[in-house]
Point group: C2
Chain length 299, copies 2
């Protein structure tokens, strides 16, 4: 699938902006402890599709958000995402050796360093949100911090990992799969879009709700596609070990529904997501393009 060059160049310029923020806020390796700082940079910089920051930018554009602010919010979300990958790859979790086309953190460094890298990346995300101005009213910014923390925590992403662990070897129904993914990946994807929107001004609750609803559906679609790619794409394209889910006996949309039905579900979720954007008209063009990108991607 080829995307419009115009969308591509939009995405590349936002990815560069986030990359520049990450490059700036991650301590350089010459600062003590050097190995930890070098490992943090190894796990964050120069890789990843930056889907979550792109969602923040696209949602922010509906509300004329200052790109500087969205760059910070996007970087914070990406730090949380990166920490979760590092911990998820550890031997006591998914025990994976390849991520974003490179050896995982604990393989390149060691388990203890990978543990600390994840811990420190999470702290750094919140440090950014305390340090840089993201909203005209600092009370709004406190709400944004609460939102990201709650999306990352036991009732969000970390909770989803726990549900995931408990479900290995079980056959989950589609609603059970949905519950897992709404936590595991959905919470942070929703937070990304809503944080981006909140970097803009004058938001009423119903507008935020539309963005959130869009992100909820697209987050699920993202996961369905992830399951399909894990089952179908070769490791080289994926940049992470393919076929892991089946090998680990993890319940997936593909194992519950098969590939064809999973594709239909992803398309349905995309349509539901797009519906939530109707009231925004042309202002939501980037979010619509991202929805296409997420559902039609091949990696």
């Amino acid at each position: 699938m080829n995307f419009a060059p115009e969308f591509q160049s939009w995405a590349v310029s936002r990815q560069s902006r986030v990359e520049a923020v990450l490059e700036k806020v991650l301590p350089v390796p010459r600062i003590v402890p050097e190995r930890l700082h070098s490992a943090m940079r190894y796990c964050v910089l120069g890789a990843g599709k930056r889907v979550r920051p792109l969602l923040a930018f696209a949602a922010g554009e509906i509300f004329d958000a200052d790109p500087e602010r969205v760059g910070i919010a996007g970087a914070a979300v990406e730090l949380i995402h990166a920490y979760s990958l590092v911990h998820d790859d550890l031997p006591c979790m998914d025990d994976d050796v390849l991520r974003r086309g490179k050896p995982t953190c604990h393989v390149e460094y060691d388990d203890a360093t990978a543990l600390l890298v994840g811990d420190a990346l999470q702290s750094l995300a919140f440090q950014l949100l305390g340090e840089y101005r993201l909203a005209d009213d600092p009370l709004d910014q406190l709400e944004m911090i609460k939102l990201l923390a709650s999306a990352a925590g036991s009732r969000g992403m970390a909770g989803g990992q726990a549900i995931d662990l408990e479900s290995v070897g079980k056959r989950l129904s589609v609603p059970e799969l949905e519950l897992m993914h709404i936590h595991k990946t959905g919470a942070l994807i929703r937070a990304s879009a809503v944080l981006g929107a909140r970097c803009g001004s004058a938001l009423d609750k119903s507008e935020l709700m539309h963005v959130d609803t869009f992100a909820k559906f697209i987050g699920l679609a993202f996961q369905v596609i992830d399951d399909i790619l894990d089952a179908e794409a070769p490791t080289a394209t994926l940049g992470k070990t393919a076929g892991k889910d089946a090998d680990r006996n993890k319940p997936t949309y593909v194992s519950a529904l098969g590939v064809a039905e999973s594709r239909r579900l992803a398309e349905e979720l995309r349509q539901d997501g797009l519906k939530a954007l109707e009231s925004f008209g042309e202002r939501a063009v980037r979010l619509r393009q991202l929805a296409d990108f997420i559902v039609l991607r091949e990696f």
Copy 2:
């Protein structure tokens, strides 16, 4: 060492207040994911000396801080501390089986759950700081969030753990030990006192600096005493495995200086800490008592 009953009852009432906050903000186990929530409560509630929250209360009292606010700040600090213990006890770190008189989290549950418990406790700490009002000016509160995040991160506590890892089997000089501990335990202890003080009103920079300086010295004294207790106290008194440092060939103040000289150093650090409080007069009585408690404790 017996402490004045009046100090004891002050401490007990503050410990209860923090316990009540923690009890309230930790999700109950019937909320999904149940095992994770049960493990989080297991690791946080009903144990620990709560030294960091006590420091926050004592520093807050200098500046007439609202105890409600300090209770939240103290709980956030304690959540960060508890997460660090859970991760520190993991097999890839210190591989310890006993903590606060109970089996460690990964022994009672499993490694993956312990990893997620730590991750989720860290998120919860920042969720509290975004959710509850801690300062009259929300900009001050954003600064407090930045302070805690930075104290927890790679240039604070997590960085100290990394330095600790690298130093196993090495002989460190006293300045090298100091650098490690200023990160590993010192950063969070200083943040505790400063956050408590900032919950009070109208603080000028020099007042905050006095509190910070006090906490810097007392944090180091705390660590020196910890090393002495690890070498001397029985496991039953300590509530964690005694003699671990020597067993793991970790550099400590005792291995660098011997017990007698370490005791002298702790007393010197206590005196330096007390000096920083002089300008506060009687208002710093609790901080002085806490300094005594920390240096003269036997567990």
